[in-house]
Subunit: 147 residues, 2 copies
DNA sequence: TTGCTCCTCACGTCACGTGAGGTGGC
DNA sequence: TTGCTCCTCACGTCACGTGAGGTGGC
């Protein structure tokens, strides 16, 4: 939101801010989940932008919340890169039909992600309901035993 | 709920019913997460009761939904075994004070599990909200482009 | 008896953890 | 200059996957 060009982050800072470790971030670079600056000289420190930080945050979040494998994550992130490309095309065209087509594809993508999230949420809610039921049972028994 | 003594299940059936594999179930036995009948002769088939099935279901559910390590799961399941022991004590005593103490411990345990579940749910809801927001944006743009 | 499914090693894999020894930058 | 954090191997670990070769039970 701000246009101030924030100073680059070091790997330890990115790790801290995303709740991971430097090793994990290096591993994600190794398997191609993170870009990894091509021009970094052997042995020199890795530097990250705010955008890199956001990408790591998203990876960690999807990994933890949806339990996706890194291969699945790679596919999902590739699909998102494709969407970013579509957004560029969107802005480049004035053709209403083309714009509609792009928007509809975007909608399908969001829809499928929402399905994943909502499925998980439903399972968690079922688990929560079972725990609340147990809780009520205990509360009732405690009440029966008097104040 | 029914008292019919259901026939024992084989490892493949348990795997199917819990969404895992025989290998995973054997592995859980190997590391002590599952009991594993002590009297099974070398090379003979493993047989499971309905109670075993429920235990595997719970393990898989907690593993997937809460992302717990098997070591954490082992601790959680041990705590649950302790609670089962408490329930036996509960039924064995008539002392109201003792019963209250047991119930309160039970309450604490459920509370901490609920915290885990609700924390996860909150994160998922935040992710869902972000996706819905994106969805609304796309829907608005589509409306602007006309029917 | 014929097919399944099951059994036990045992090595492979995915996603990192954990030193070992060395260099970089505020 | 002194500490930190970073670097690159490289081996270890956790939670299984995946055959290989063999036996069990409807």
């Amino acid at each position: 939101l701000s246009a101030t060009p924030t100073k680059p982050l070091r790997i330890g800072e990115v790790a801290e801010l995303t709740g991971t470790t430097p090793r994990t971030i290096r591993y994600y670079e190794e398997i191609g989940l993170l870009p990894g600056a091509a021009d970094r000289a052997q042995g020199k420190h890795r530097l990250y932008t705010e955008a890199d930080l956001e990408r790591v945050k998203e990876i960690v979040r999807l990994r933890d919340l949806l339990g996706l494998s890194l291969e699945q994550l790679r596919q999902l992130l590739e699909a998102e890169a494709a969407r970013a490309e579509l957004r560029r095309e969107y802005r480049a065209t004035e053709d209403a039909a083309a714009r509609k087509r792009i928007l509809k594809q975007s909608r399908r993508h969001i829809e499928s992600q929402l399905e994943l999230v909502r499925g998980r949420k439903a399972e968690l809610e079922k688990l929560e309901a079972e725990l609340v039921e147990k809780q009520d049972l205990v509360a009732t028994k405690l009440r029966e035993l008097g104040a």
